[in-house]
Amino acid sequence: MMKFLSNTMRRSHLALAVIATGAAGLALMTMHAQFSGRSSQLAGHAALVAELGLTDLALFTEARYTRHPSQADLFTPFQDHPLSFDHFPSGSLVLPQRQFGNKDLFAESLPQ
């Protein structure tokens, strides 16, 4: 099949056809993303969050400050050991909550 293709069809047409289909695939994906972005599934989930008043994603359930990063106070990671920033693997991926609400208890200690 390839022998036939490369003889009659110019190589450049073949290559550009492959790239065109690829680009069409990308465009299709973008449309697919655009379309499913408005699916009802998300709306149902959002209604649940509103009803229960949930505040955080349940991604890292190892410890309080990784399960509810927006609620946990700045000290929680230190409670085990003053210097232990935190020792759970996901802690390396979660930036400690810097804003800590509007009143910065330790404004001067926060890195500017």
Binding site: L16, S36, T55, L59, T61, T76, Q99, G101, K103
Partner: protein
């Protein structure tokens, strides 16, 4: 000697025209067939890098977007009591103080906390649904659980959930409903209890709450209300919905940046690889370019031809790399990234993200992969293209 046969107007059109580029691509693909081994290796490395980078970026962007949409419905203002810098339960009497502030539509206490299950080492979030909730209302002795709880405890709707309370007594709850996978991202480890059950389980006096949540009439007045409340309760901590959203925005962009910085190393290695591949010119290739120039190709034609070699590999790897990354993140819910995210947690939500792919992400991914690659090959391509035509006669 006549002017070169293409007059100025035609010269411009044909020289820039697509027809010429097609011929150059014909030649490039033919010439590339000879060095398939090297090209296939470069293509697969390129594809792998775009796949990994693409997966990280698509996952992070999708989850950030989903978090923003979902948490847009989180409580407008939360009040937490702090003692010695630690989170403390708050008295219900504070509610009257807060209700007096102008602009506060409603204030109510919230009861939620954690429960460590010795049996499987999982952490569950126990919560009491608010009065106004209808679909999630729970009568005493009943419970609604997240899919993660059902999965780790192996119970289904209608079954019974047993929790060992601190007092040593076992609490038995009938599972009224299990939340579906669609909402796993926020409630996979959730266990809803009625208020009496919750207070009995944690032995809580009736008037203590975990924190207080306020609904505000006019969004723009939140800062004003927080100021007033702070005067009334100097020691409390106030978390607005904006804080929650900004927390997640910075968490995910920080993490994405961290992962990209880590991947930066592999990017640099890849650029060096492409630089080496492009400049590794065998004698045969050099002679071949000499032949092209001898039979009438200009230096700019040779540069264009060599450019097409890089472009075809780049575009091909980019298109298929992104397609694979898209499928990986949105159809296989980023399975490869799970160990990184899961860490030591027992419960990890089995969720499917709403697909999201925008022009900015594609452009950013291209900037990280195609741009360094092309930049790295400019000098080698030029050096190849300026071989002297008479070398072919030596």
């Amino acid at each position: 000697m006549t002017e070169p046969n293409n007059s100025y107007q035609a010269g411009l059109l044909s020289r820039l025209g697509a027809a010429k580029q097609l011929y150059l691509i014909d030649f490039t693909l033919g010439a590339m067939k000879r060095r398939t081994g090297r090209n296939v290796m470069l293509f697969s490395v390129y594809l792998a890098i775009i796949f990994i980078l693409g997966s990280v970026m698509l996952f992070s962007h999708a989850i950030r977007r989903e978090a923003a949409i979902l948490l847009e419905n989180s409580p407008e203002l939360l009040v937490q009591k702090l003692r010695m810098g630690r989170h403390e339960l708050i008295e219900g009497t504070r509610l009257e103080v807060l209700r007096k502030i102008r602009g506060v539509r409603q204030a109510q206490g919230r009861l939620w906390g954690y429960f460590y299950d010795q049996a499987n080492g999982a952490n569950y979030t126990l919560m009491v649904p608010r009065e106004q909730s209808k679909t999630t209302a729970v009568k005493p002795g009943e419970t609604i659980i997240g899919e993660g709880v059902a999965r780790t405890k192996g119970i289904k709707q209608g079954g019974y959930l047993f929790l060992l309370s601190e007092t040593g007594k076992l609490m038995k709850l009938k599972v009224k409903q299990v939340f579906s996978n669609q909402s796993a991202l926020t409630n996979t480890d959730l266990i809803l209890l009625s208020e009496p059950d919750y207070r009995r389980f944690f032995v809580l006096p009736p008037d203590l709450y975990t924190d207080l949540s306020l609904t505000i009439r006019n969004k723009r007045e939140i800062d004003k209300i927080v100021e007033k409340a702070a005067k009334l309760m100097p020691q409390a901590r106030f978390i607005t919905r904006r804080d929650i959203l900004r927390t997640y925005e910075s968490i995910f962009s920080w993490r994405e940046g961290l992962l990209l910085a880590l991947l930066g190393g592999s990017l640099i290695a890849f650029t060096i690889l492409s630089f080496d591949k492009a400049s590794g010119m065998s004698a045969e290739e050099r002679r071949e370019i000499g032949v092209l120039k001898a039979v009438g190709w200009e230096t700019s034609d040779v540069i264009a031809m060599k450019f097409w070699e890089g472009a075809l590999v780049s575009i091909g790897a980019f298109v298929f790399g992104v397609a694979l990354a898209y499928a990986h993140v949105f159809f296989f819910s980023a399975g490869l990234l799970e160990p990184v995210l899961k860490g030591w947690a027992v419960i990890y939500p089995s969720f499917t993200l709403t697909p999201s792919l925008g022009g900015i992400q594609l452009a950013t991914l291209a900037f990280f992969t195609i741009i360094p690659y092309t930049a790295a090959t400019i000098i080698p391509i030029w050096r190849a293209a300026t071989t002297d035509p008479d070398e072919v006669m030596r």
